[in-house]
Symmetry: C2
Subunit: 498 residues, 2 copies
Amino acid sequence: MTEAMAEKITPRSQDFSQWYQDIVLNARLADYSPVKGCMVIRPNGYSIWERIQQDLDRRIKKSGARNAYFPLFIPESFLKKEAEHVEGFAPQCAVVTYAGAKDLEEKLVVRPTSETIINSMFAKWIQSYRDLPLMINQWANVVRWEMRTRLFLRTTEFLWQEGHTCHATPDEAEAETRQMLTVYKEFAEEVLAMPVLPGMKSESEKFAGALRTYSIEAMMQDKKALQAGTSHNLASNFAQAFETKFLDSDGKQKLVHQTSWGVSTRLIGGMIMTHSDDKGLVLPPRLAATHVVIVPIMANAEAKPRVLEAADKLAAAIAETPEARKLPYEIGVLVDKDETKQPGWKFFEHEMTGTPIRIEIGPRDLEKSTAVVVRRDIGKKEFISLEAIPAWVSQNLAAMQKELLEKARAFREANTFELPGGTAGYAEFKSKIESGGFFMAAWCQSKDCEAKVKEDTKATIRCLPLDSAYMPISEHGKGCMVCGSTEKTVRTVFARAY
Amino acid sequence: MTEAMAEKITPRSQDFSQWYQDIVLNARLADYSPVKGCMVIRPNGYSIWERIQQDLDRRIKKSGARNAYFPLFIPESFLKKEAEHVEGFAPQCAVVTYAGAKDLEEKLVVRPTSETIINSMFAKWIQSYRDLPLMINQWANVVRWEMRTRLFLRTTEFLWQEGHTCHATPDEAEAETRQMLTVYKEFAEEVLAMPVLPGMKSESEKFAGALRTYSIEAMMQDKKALQAGTSHNLASNFAQAFETKFLDSDGKQKLVHQTSWGVSTRLIGGMIMTHSDDKGLVLPPRLAATHVVIVPIMANAEAKPRVLEAADKLAAAIAETPEARKLPYEIGVLVDKDETKQPGWKFFEHEMTGTPIRIEIGPRDLEKSTAVVVRRDIGKKEFISLEAIPAWVSQNLAAMQKELLEKARAFREANTFELPGGTAGYAEFKSKIESGGFFMAAWCQSKDCEAKVKEDTKATIRCLPLDSAYMPISEHGKGCMVCGSTEKTVRTVFARAY
């Protein structure tokens, strides 16, 4: 049984993509649905999403936004009001053409994003500069018809939050765009333990309708990039289309300046591909519902009551230890008393589903007043005295959260390469891109050079990193890696991406 | 200014329906959207929904269900698998016919409810009796094309939770159906302070596809009934259609027995129509984000710093008093320092939006170390010493929650009438129905008699109440109020309803 389960997961080294799918299905995080491209998020996966929501929602509210809810349906004409926006989204739209047994007069698009429908309301609600800033967030489902889908990473329907804000000046809109990028970065690193690189998107990769798009980019264990969140400065593009105006203090009618920003259930896929291993899911403790599983080893009927009593006592002590109060969550402890399953089966099951700490306790341990503890990310068995376990658990949950981030950051740093300036960089890039990684290169900002890289290597510009510590001017001053031009060169991160 | 705002709300006595709409729009709970029948839930309204979700989610989890998420789209063929189900829902469906710029091979219905898509997954996940009971809940949006809509009460798209459970025996399914009805009743009364009558629906009013539907029925201030939540025993109707089977411990393949249950954003409408008055929203404290507003009266520049300091100190004391720990929420206190608004404007604004307690504090109060306190539901001004205010606030928030329920219950009791048994009851019913209320009557369970009542009076059977304390057998034994038959007569609640 034990062997059979272990075999279910394809090793990463053999087939990364199959490994990922095996984890998602075997940890029962999600499943394929009968609707093409749509997934079912199962309780184990949805529990992670609930924790993401709770934590991020607090951060979003702290930033000044309030939650609201706008219609799922968008009149087709709304989408068409902003030219770039409709061009970007129309090919991906799902469209309702009849309802209530009648053909609709105007077709309704199932929202791929809500800038248009929300602007139609903003235009009604905003009168004066006193109504600004107006900051709204929505937790919702959206639909984008995708040709090639993958559980959590790219699905036809997905869950997300989308923030939409209106400001009196361009500077305030830019500051808000940047601030939310920082909120996302901190959230990804503190909660998902997933290090991300914040930066600006190139023109060709920006949101359809935005002036400027920023993103956070994470590196997966296969060294590919994953765009994990975006924040857009929309300038007055949608405000113009919907006449979202305000009477300023100088008595003049002006268009508002807007932002929008979002993260989605894709984060769950990114978190999995950042931390998990060939035994299953590795879950940062802040995303776990059950932090500790205690597996009682009930060797014989005689020992059973003693072992169960000790397990229950230990569970209570773990939850109640003063050390536990330092954690930003209540420790969830499960004593797995299921007698239809063997301990070995339980070990594998909890490794598969990512329980951060496992404790094994049997009659022989009891004689010595110890138990076996195992941290999911390290996997090493240790004997610890029962008395010391509660504090050990709290300390190790905190340590695991921290070390997962450090490990992922070290992995990213080890796979981030600074290319020499000028076209010498491109030769090196082409020789190395096959084995993956982030490449810091100089780029002249021309679409042709960007397109050539994509054609030659399938790599794309992930971002123009905000942190200028990358790549000294001495190198990037030598010119674009593709064309060698020294005009307008900028530091750029190239990588293959999901 | 003050007068103008007060005039915005039509009195209940003049036009109840207009009053309701005035409250929803002026308290900025919701707004009409450009999409026919769909509303926008504004931050003030969504904040109420968040509190409903938080509390009810805890109760649902305690009952043993776990949250998950299923696709928004349902293949048309799925809906057709259960004959009564498709007959009931097809006329209300919104249908996606093309997506990704192509006509779909199979049309996709935007979920009006999820029994079918969820059963397609249950059939895959359930193998043995060990997998049962399987209890799932989903927080989601659903779409039912409605001809006549009303903010919160009946909208084309609405937000809800839908629970779906599978059991090994019919008894367990019935017990779960009833248990969730009890969960809803307790939730409605404890949190919304809205008394509800639990009962069984008649055949003609039950859910399309269910064996049996139970509901909780509330009485609004216009004495009309509002169905506030439903719980269905689905028997094996959907299991049959989707072959949702399990291998029982006796080695036989059997169909599972199912339930489903839901409440929606309609609850917000019910809560408004239960408690609010001609000055605006009255919000049970458990649904408020801001429980207390302190309005500093800054008569002159000299007094301002002293008054503001006292207000801040009072706010901190209110939040920190030991009495506050007895409440099931943290007290939200706002010191309304906005200097562009007059105190009178603020009083009206906070009455409109339903802040449970208002405190007014000015220089003259400070001299006497007192302040004025006003409870939103009572409206009476009282002078209380600053020292006594923190405890007073906690006590009055608890009292307000309790008294709102008692007041609503007394109103319902005063407007619930027991009709005499036999056709004498019908004469009395017809003479009284115009002025509204719940009518306890005997009914022979025939569809003809039920239809005749609806035709004659526009009243419907709300439920067959579970509480048999209503109407003694001596009366209900005299026969159906419509036809006089003494065969199969049951106690029944008739009322006009939303």
